[in-house]
Amino acid sequence: MELTGIFKYLYELLAATGLPEVWVDIIALIAAGVIVFGFLALVALFLVWLERKFAGHAQQRPGPMRTGWHGWRQTIADAIKLLQKEDIRPTLVDRFVYFWAPVVVFVAAFMAYVVIPFGEGLIVSDLNVGILYVVAITSFTVIGMLMAGWGSNNKYSLLGGMRSAAQVVSYEIPMVIAICSVILFVGSLSMVDIVQSQAKIYQWYVFRLPFGPIAFIIYLIAGTAETNRTPFDLPEAEQELVAGFNTEYSGMKFAMFFLAEFVNMFTVSAIGATLFLGGWQGPLLPSWMWFLGKTMFLVLVLMLFRWTFPRLRVDQLMEFAWKTLIPFAFVNLILAAVMKYSGWFNW
């Protein structure tokens, strides 16, 4: 394990108590998990507030204003409200599937953070399969959505779940190919290696013309689709499907879906920042600030997408993935391979 900063301090503190090594490992890992979880829960609350304010200002209104300064306490109040709400379960749901669906979605959303480098040395575990692990583990979200859609015994939920499956499976392909073109240049799947290969600003993959920006745009579009956000929010299209796959959920179970959605948005942005914008690399400021700044920048871009583009139709959605993004992604991958081989921009 590569733990520095707070983690290392914690680890040494535990080791000093004279506990057996196995227990120190386990406690340190649990502590790391709790810290990451707490941080992400806070981030998700903040993002919910930010999304509301952004939506408000995009629509020429102020958004939440009454609870606290510019409504900053609004999401906290909402979270407490959701915690207290009665958990309503329709009679004819498939109990087992209905219960586990939010758990699967929630856990899958947090699993990716094992390998995300928050700063120099601030990574829970630098797996050698790094980025591939993220791609694999996030596919559990779809299974959770399908479980919710099917288990709810509601046609809107079922339609939402099916749309999400079709969408995510289709958009995963251009996304992985776009990621592949970066991996090709790095020559490693480890997230730390990816960040370290972008030490100078001209080495950021988004600036490596011509393949970099294309891969970045493909990644961003596919990432928006993977998180089911407008203009790709067909799984929960309010006007057509009530609320999509989570129609029958209320209280805490709904909150888990809701929180997972925002965590997923943060994940897509964090991976985008790591792969294309140099991760935690940057001058003067501490590395974690650079990482958070770049991630928040991408979060704002995703929010801008949501509040400025209209939703796609189902057939347009599929056509866009299969006939536009995938061919472009493949050509771009070949381009990247040629660039790597010829040594062009290979600094």
Binding site: V97, G149, A165, V168, V169
Partner: protein, 174 residues
Amino acid sequence: MEMVANFISDVSANPLFYLLAFVTIASALCVVTLKNIFHSALCLILTLFSVAGLYILLHAEFLAVAQVLIYVGAVSILLIFAIMLTSQLASRKIVQSNEQVTVAIFVCFLFLLVSIGSLFNTYWNGINAPLPDNNILTIGILLMTDYVLPFEVVSIVMLAALIGAIVLAREERS
């Protein structure tokens, strides 16, 4: 023989192995015994995921991730998708029945015997050698040198399937 025995004793020292093996076998049994086909599909996902866990115990991280990515992330999802699209299967009133339990048990038992037989008759090349530092790098180099022909053939098959999917999607419109 001795190498296999060493290997087995290595693996069986890890309590996690028993947990994963139990989950794998239990969920695999659920796949074939549950009455509800959707539950069976979910159990299959659990089986495939715990097999990925076994790969991690064997330090084959790349294989584990590929297993999750392909089987859990794509194959299972398409399986569930197909179940959902088949309206009669999706309704809970239709229960799955299996009328060939005896034959199936017999075939499974035969397969078990064949597996055990081949386990002890295989020469396990390099099982005692230390693992390379970077598994993935080694896999990549092997795929591009020793196994380049099968690798390329598989790539072409997959590319053909992908192009086929695009062609099918295009025909639908006209």
